[in-house]
Structure formats: structure tokens, C-alpha cells
């Protein structure tokens, strides 16, 4: 791995940790759901760098699209937006 790729990986890992702390600690549930889709997006990029294209496709399709939509539908049906 070249130096530029290593620097990008470290930046991505830092963003991942900060966003996951944001998901666990924020009070507004809708914002936390959108932030969890950012986690899936960065993880999909990590899987591509680790030379695993099948897993990157699966994580991008399931983690970004489907998990977010079922969380949003549940939040709408329980009539709650805050903790």
C-alpha cells in the first residue's frame, strides 16, 4: 500500500469512530439513522481497498439503502423523534 492510500485509510478510520460515537450519543433518532448510513458507506470503501468486491457490493446495497429505510419506517410508526 502506498503512503497516500495509508493516509486516506487513517482519515476514514477517524471519521468512522467519530460518526459512531455521534450515532450512540445523539438524542434525535432520525439524525442518528442517517449517520449510520454514513458508517455503511465508509465501510464499503474499506472493503474495496481490502480487495473484496463482492462484500463491498453487498454492504453498499444492504447497509445504505435497506437498513436506513426500515429504521425510518419504524421511527415514523412509533411517533417518536427524541429519546
Amino acid at each position: 500500500m502506498t503512503t497516500l492510500l495509508t493516509a486516506l485509510i487513517i482519515i476514514g478510520a477517524l471519521i468512522l469512530i467519530i460518526v459512531s460515537i455521534y450515532v450512540v450519543s445523539h438524542k434525535d433518532l432520525l439524525v442518528a439513522t442517517i449517520a449510520s448510513s454514513i458508517i455503511s458507506l465508509i465501510l464499503s470503501a474499506f472493503y474495496f481497498v481490502l480487495q473484496a468486491p463482492d462484500v463491498a457490493l453487498t454492504e453498499a446495497a444492504i447497509g445504505v439503502a435497506l437498513t436506513t429505510i426500515i429504521f425510518v419506517v419504524t421511527i415514523k410508526n412509533t411517533k417518536r423523534e427524541e429519546e
Partner: protein, 130 residues
């Protein structure tokens, strides 16, 4: 020399990130009181475990495990091609889909609980048993 240091940095980065994701997710499951926040934290634990499995199966200077025409040309010329371990990728493929299935059933149970008790706080649901 610099290659050894880059390898150590990458070791710390991938293993440390995935273990931190698992620990942050567990903290959310054990401490929070809202049911939907607990399900979000479970989903974070799933993502961390999958990243750990795939980062164990990586080999230095390896390529994706697909015999595309360009790799077949290289093999015919006699250059040896190093491929990444394909077994953890097959296992993680199953794990991602099953994690989604578990999340979906969990959220259906939350909707049903909300219809019955009219709250999503686990403290109040425990109190209503009396």
C-alpha cells in the same frame, strides 16, 4: 524499514477501528434506554465484526480473487499472481444478509410493543408488569 512501519500502522488502524466499533456498539446496547437506539447499536456491532473478519483475510500485494482475462494472461506468461483469501469473504457475505434479517425482525417487534404499551422506553415497559 519504512515498509515495516506502514504494516504496523495498518495493523493498528484496521484491528483498532473494528474493535473500537464493537466496543462503542456494546456501550450503546448496555447503557441506552430507547429501544430504537439499542437496535442501531446492534447494527454497529454487526458492521464492526464484519470488518474484523475481512481484515484478517488480507494478504500483502494481493489482488481480488477473480480469474478475469487480464489475470489469465499474466498466468499464461508465467508471472505468479498472489490472491487474497476468499473464505472470509464468503462467510461475511452470509453474515451481512443475516444481520439485516435480524434487524428487520427486531424492528417489527418494536412496532408491536409500541402498539401495546404506547412507549419505547424499556424502563416504563418493565414497570407496567406490575
Amino acid at each position: 524499514m519504512s515498509e515495516l512501519t506502514i504494516n504496523q500502522i495498518l495493523t493498528y488502524t484496521f484491528y483498532g477501528t473494528s474493535l473500537l466499533l464493537i466496543m462503542i456498539g456494546f456501550y450503546g446496547v448496555l447503557t441506552k434506554k430507547n429501544l430504537i437506539k439499542i437496535m442501531l447499536s446492534f447494527s454497529i456491532v454487526d458492521s464492526g465484526v464484519n470488518l474484523l473478519l475481512i481484515s484478517i483475510g488480507y494478504i500483502n500485494n494481493g489482488t481480488a480473487p477473480i480469474f478475469s482475462p487480464s489475470i489469465m494472461e499474466k498466468i499464461h506468461k508465467g508471472i505468479s499472481v498472489q490472491m487474497v483469501d476468499p473464505v472470509p469473504q464468503a462467510l461475511v457475505l452470509t453474515a451481512i444478509v443475516i444481520g439485516f434479517g435480524v434487524t428487520a425482525v427486531g424492528l417489527a417487534l418494536i412496532v408491536r410493543l409500541y402498539r401495546h404499551h404506547n412507549t419505547t422506553n424499556i424502563d416504563e415497559i418493565k414497570n407496567l408488569k406490575w
